[in-house]
Amino acid sequence: MRSGNALRWAKLNYTVAMLVVFLASSTRAEDVRNPLSADPKAAKAGEFEFRINCAFCHGLGARGGGRGPDLTRAHKRHGDADADLFQNISQGIPGTVMPANGTNGQGVGMTDDEIWQIIAYLRSVQVKTPAKPAGNAARGKELFYGDANCSTCHMVEGKGGRLGPDLTAVGTARTVDALVESVRIPSKRLAWGLTESTKEFAQEYQTVTVVTAGGEEIKGVTLNDDQFSLQMMDTTEQIRLFEKDKLRSIQKTRESLMPIYNPTILSDKDLNDIIAYLLSVGMK
């Protein structure tokens, strides 16, 4: 193929692709239905595909794995319709760690049919009538911003602190078990921070203490770092940027800065209320 032909071919490809996008967008999303929804074998085939492609983050049985949300819930933050699920699986979800189909080295590139099989599988495991959260969301909100001191470090819907992760979406992004665990044993699984689409593993909220060349000791959480540089937020919520070779010392630990909320500090009832609040916000 001559170079000119190659370029023309690429342009033609682009034109066809744009036409497809145009045609797809001219169909209302809610009109798109899973073509395999009536196929009894589709859900079983989807279960195999799910194990290979999705279970690494969403867990066996789609019940959530600490990294990805529990997909057995009927309500999904990024859309519940077949078309939403198809879009999210094939294109990924911008701003989250959910990658586009076949781009991340995890699992295989799926065909459209295989994606529909996965959606058929998700429908088969979807909990029809979700249990109502045990707690009282209104009281949970009061605790979050009040006596439980959550908002000192965590933000929900734009209000609260910045030292810990923003919890606006955490109610749908994590299982209830994962939420309980992260309050009771904060260091067991550190929260994820910055995610770059090109990076396989997201940065974690590790605790970091640096000593500058001038002898100043600064403690905070890691926002982002690489071999040579460090971005951290100190305990006064200031973002600090360092070149590692100019620091006297850097100490990172996997002991979270978050206090351990054991049942004597935060009762099970209070925790349930706070989780009910986070779920209610997450479901919006």
Binding site: M1, L7, G102, E196, T198, K199, D226
Partner: protein, 518 residues
């Protein structure tokens, strides 16, 4: 005038003789690993430990394509040839990065690439460059124009076959192995006539009925036994042998239904280059249930009158073999391994009873992506050290029955991050092949998919998942220079020179970078 020189240079033929003596023209990079020994060592020393601190980016070429950019370019007489995502190929002025021609193979919509729409590079011979594609075609392009000279379909891609590796040219043959271990293929290594595209031989990596090794498969499991061969092998001219590594048996994480050693999965094969006949084999992981492909570039090392071949294997062990016989000389862990605590009569690490995946899942190290993977290692005969990118990642392996369906992913399993929530990390490790000891390591923040280049300047080059390109002292592992490229590295670096100036090149993000002295 310059243009004339370039045209003249581009028309120079790359003969088999030149490939055999690739190390004598270090300004060029003529094969995937730089030479037939597979050592990814450049004899260029203009960039060295004394001046590397001043290295700067000389040019950047963007493919503007998404997905992992895994190419190792070739450079011949001032022209750089490389591949990109989605089976692109291109030729650049190696001094400026300006394109001379661009090619893209039109891919059907239903291809089966397991792990991204990737391609690792070209082979060159005569006036042609050769490419294997994701729809399992083998294509020869005119090196001057990018025009197709021939294009053959090796096999039906709809059954899960694809090519991702850079072919190897030997004599008048274009040799390449197939990908598809995630789809229940029957693996093979092919050789094509470089002039015509006619297939000269095929070696099936899973023996058929009546062939030696067939009895290492249960029932009909051999038909979908996997054992792909998706990493470029090496060539030993004195014995006219190819040494080619193979990958996992299918399904990768379920041994039930394929009882036996499952030859020649996870093996190193010594094949006669003219006929594809098997001379010897060595299987690293028998009856694998962890996807521990042996598809790491093996390196031929001549030391103390011994003709060796060494491989840092995905299963976490570093193996040294006698390459005349395939006899194992040593096998030692270079990363964290929990699957083996004993050796068989041949000295080969053998699996313990705590490693087989269970339905509920079982933590095993290394994880599913291995203690290393396809990223190239390097060997520098002057330091005597074998450099490998190690990945420290344990996973929980679970197994489940799965019916085989043609062309559909066939793992029989799932795997998860270890629930101990240990952060994954990586390291560049320097192994002394004689003692199999790790002499030093340079720790990476997270596991990287970058290979390693060693150079006569006393340097190592590698990249990381955070986008840094790093030069280190090859003797000590001390970092001497780095550059943030803005995209994760899924490639192995190489070096070349044009007009007496040395460059070091690597792909990162969707760009190809070339660095040189100011």
């Amino acid at each position: 005038m310059i243009l004339c020189v370039l045209v003249g240079a581009a028309s120079a033929q790359v003969t088999f003789e030149r490939l055999l003596n690739a190390s004598k023209e270090p300004q060029n990079w003529l094969t995937y690993s730089g030479n037939y020994a597979g050592d990814r060592f450049s004899a260029l020393d203009q960039v060295n430990t004394a001046n590397v601190h001043s290295l700067v980016a000389k040019w950047v070429y963007q493919t503007a394509a998404t997905g992992k950019f895994e190419t190792t370019p070739l450079v011949v007489d001032g022209i750089l040839y490389a591949t990109g995502q989605d089976d692109r190929a291109f030729a650049l002025d190696a001094r400026t990065g300006r394109p001379i021609w661009m090619f893209q193979h039109p891919l059907p919509s239903d291809i089966r690439p397991c792990c991204g729409r990737v391609n690792r590079g070209l082979a060159i011979l005569g006036g042609k460059v050769f490419l294997g594609t994701l729809d399992a075609h083998v294509i020869a392009l005119d090196a001057k124009t990018g025009n197709i000279v021939w294009d053959v379909a090796a096999v039906d891609y709809k059954q899960g076959y694809s090519f991702t590796l850079a072919p190897l040219t030997v004599k008048n043959l274009v040799i390449l192995g197939v990908s598809g271990g995630e789809y229940g293929i029957r693996g093979f290594i092919d050789a094509y006539d470089a002039d015509t595209g006619q297939r000269k031989w095929r070696f099936y990596t899973v023996p058929g009925p009546g062939e030696p090794g067939h009895d290492t498969w249960e029932g009909d499991s051999w038909k979908i036994g996997g054992a792909p061969a998706w990493t470029t092998g090496v060539y030993d001219a004195p014995t006219n042998q190819l040494f080619w590594p193979t990958g996992n048996p299918s399904p990768s994480n379920r041994g039930e239904g394929r009882a036996g050693d499952n030859l020649y999965s996870n093996s190193l094969l010594a094949l006669d280059a003219d006929t594809g006949k098997l001379n010897w084999y060595f299987q690293f992981t028998k009856h694998d249930e962890h996807d521990w492909d042996a598809t790491q570039v093996p390196i031929m090392i001549d030391s103390g009158g011994k003709h060796l071949i060494a491989q840092a294997n995905r299963n976490g062990f570093f193996y040294v073999l006698d390459r005349a016989t395939g006899k194992l000389l040593s096998a030692n862990a270079y990363g964290r391994t929990t699957w083996s605590d004993n050796k068989d009569a041949d000295g080969r690490p053998a699996a313990n009873n705590q490693s087989s995946p269970t339905p509920e899942g079982r933590t095993v190290c290394p994880g599913a992506l291995g203690a290393t993977n396809w990223m190239s290692p390097s060997f520098d005969s002057r330091t005597g050290l074998f450099y490998v990118t190690a990945r420290e990642q344990c996973d929980i392996f679970s197994t489940a029955s799965q019916p085989y369906e043609v062309g559909h992913a066939y793992y029989g399993s799932a795997y998860f991050p270890s629930d101990k929530a240990e952060p994954y990390w990586g390291a560049l490790r320097a192994i002394d092949p004689a003692s199999a000891q790790v002499k030093w390591e340079f720790r990476h923040l997270s596991p990287t998919w970058s290979g390693v280049l060693s150079t006569a300047g006393g340097l190592l080059f590698t990249g990381d998942a955070e986008g840094n390109f790093i030069a280190l002292d090859a003797a000590s592992g001390k970092p001497l220079w780095h550059f943030q490229m803005g995209g994760a590295v899924y490639a192995s670096p190489m070096a070349f020179a044009v007009d007496g100036k040395q460059y070091v090149a690597i792909a990162a993000g969707s760009s190809l970078y070339a660095f040189g002295l100011p």
